[in-house]
Amino acid sequence: MSRYEIRLSGAGGQGMILAGIILAEAALKVDGLNVTQTQSYGPESRGGASRAEVVLNNGIIDYPKVITPDCLLCLTQAAFDKYGSELKEDGVMIVDQRIDISEAAEEVKDNILSLPIMKTATEDVGLTLTANIVVLGVISEIIGNTIPSKNIKEAIKNRVPEKTVEMNMKAFELGQKLKQ
């Protein structure tokens, strides 16, 4: 594949960076696919803005950060207001349903996928913290076989606490269903 850029934005503590790492680790196992993962966050460990980025490319990745995302997640209103206008023409923007997108720029409006991510995590999985894993389920459906979903599941298992694996698998699968 040619260069594909993913940006995950939300608040500190929502697990954006962990989600980025999981995606990058899942990409590792794909033959010939290179990956870089970077982040931007404030000094605080909770609150503030947090952004993780993953760049995939079969060739060498020179510039390691996202230039214009092919896939953008905005989990909070603040993240949407800040990053919501930058998207490739044929890109996909995933936003949580609670986000007010009425002010979205004309050129990105048709590319917005508004999904009940936080609600799914809180009500269906039973833990708001799993929202980042719900997101990975959604992204898995969007990127298809670029990174097989079994790789992502494997990477999640390796990264989350053992006793939460089942819950996180559920979160991932519910995320997949949101997009299907």
Partner: protein, 380 residues
């Protein structure tokens, strides 16, 4: 870590892996964003091989402690970021003066002062050279990728040991915190150098720790092995004791300078891709090199004659190389995450033979390839 298998590795942890591969035995320091992962990594890895990790009360003590570890014969390293690097300068000078092999990592963040703790910068380039007072030699290496962070950490230890010289490893937040897919070399593929020690049957009673040898690097015994000697920040003679003479001062300064200057071919490392007809050259280092290479590739696709050089060794500066580049090129572009630091060296080496233009950001944001491309294309 299993070798020969692709791993997702963070730049800071590549420093740890590189250090362990080079034979690091001692880490002393104080954690600070964005270098804390280096301390954490060494705290995890060193005890596994019988090494020691110590967190000191502050960065001054961390630097002093790393020098002490080195004197006792252990390959030593400390790691910090800008604010801590400022605190280490006094003892860095001591390390240079007593010729202690030690690796000092500075993962640069935006300064001055506490600045922007989690954002990248290349603002400590001149500090790496001139942060500690007085004339002195220094070696500073700057990786632009996770793999280079590994490779240059090995080099940093090797240079430190071979030349009895503190070596600065200048990362920036991007390279330090970035994770990349890398394949690390096996141990038998890595060249590891150790310091020269006096022979075991040397006369310990009449031993001179700063003897003038042909290679200008005196053999260094481990403290505690029967070689009793004195170290001091004062200018000293071959016995290690200060006499306060102008003669000793000049002699030691000249030797310390020459031990580096005589070996520039080995110490100055760079990568380049400059074709015969390339009249525009982008000179960069660290994370900025990623944008430079990307921009040059795009410029070439647009039919422009552009090339790039990426300095892996910043100090000593590749003066001769840049001077030669300037003879051929019309324009040298120097992107930096500061207000223009290394560009001064480039201008000095170019001696007006080529136009030297900087691209500068100092707000914690990486320079994008499009900005470099615009400069190559001459678009303002």
């Amino acid at each position: 870590m299993s070798k020969k298998e692709a791993v997702l590795l963070q730049g800071d942890l590549a420093v740890v892996e590189g250090g362990m591969a080079a034979g690091a035995e001692f880490f002393a320091g104080y954690p600070i964003t964005p270098a804390s992962e280096i301390a954490e990594g060494f705290a995890r890895e060193l005890p596994k091989v019988g090494g020691k990790f110590i967190q000191m009360e502050d960065e001054l003590a961390g630097m002093a402690c790393a020098i002490g570890g080195s004197l006792s014969g252990k390959k030593s390293i400390t790691a910090t970021s800008g604010p801590g690097f400022s605190l280490k300068q006094e003892n860095l000078g001591l390390g240079i003066m007593i010729e202690a092999p030690v690796v000092v990592v500075d993962v640069q963040r935006v300064g001055p002062s506490t600045g922007l703790p989690t954002s990248p910068s290349q603002g400590d380039v001149m500090q790496a050279k001139w942060g500690t007072h007085g004339d002195h030699p220094i070696i500073a290496l700057s990786p632009s990728s996770v793999k280079e962070a590994f490779d240059l950490t090995v080099k940093a230890f090797n240079f430190a040991e071979k030349y009895r010289q503190p070596v600065i490893l200048l990362l920036d937040e991007i390279v330090g915190h970035m994770r990349e897919k890398v394949i690390l070399p096996d141990a038998d593929e890595i060249e590891v150098w150790d310091r020269k020690r006096p022979p075991a049957d040397a006369d310990k009673e009449n031993f001179n720790p700063y003897e003038w040898t042909d290679d200008l690097v005196p053999p260094m015994p481990d403290y505690g092995t029967g070689f009793r000697y004195h170290t001091t920040g004062l200018f000293h003679d071959k016995t290690g004791f200060p006499r306060g003479t102008t003669e000793d001062a000049k002699k030691l300064m000249d030797r310390m300078t020459a031990k580096i200057e005589n070996n520039l071919d080995e110490i100055i490392l760079y990568d380049e891709d400059i074709r015969e007809d390339d009249n525009i050259v982008v000179l960069s280092y660290g994370s900025t090199a990623r944008s430079a290479v990307s921009a040059v590739n795009e410029a070439r696709e647009n039919g422009l004659n552009a090339g790039w050089i990426k300095l892996k060794t910043i100090w000593p500066f590749a003066e001769e190389k840049v001077s030669k580049l300037a003879e051929k090129a019309n324009k040298i572009i120097v992107p930096e995450l500061n207000q223009g630091q290394l560009i001064r060296e480039v201008e000095r080496a170019a001696k007006g033979q080529a136009e030297v233009v900087g691209i500068n950001r100092y707000d914690g944001t990486l320079i994008k390839p499009e900005h470099v491309l615009a400069e190559i294309e001459g678009v303002k």
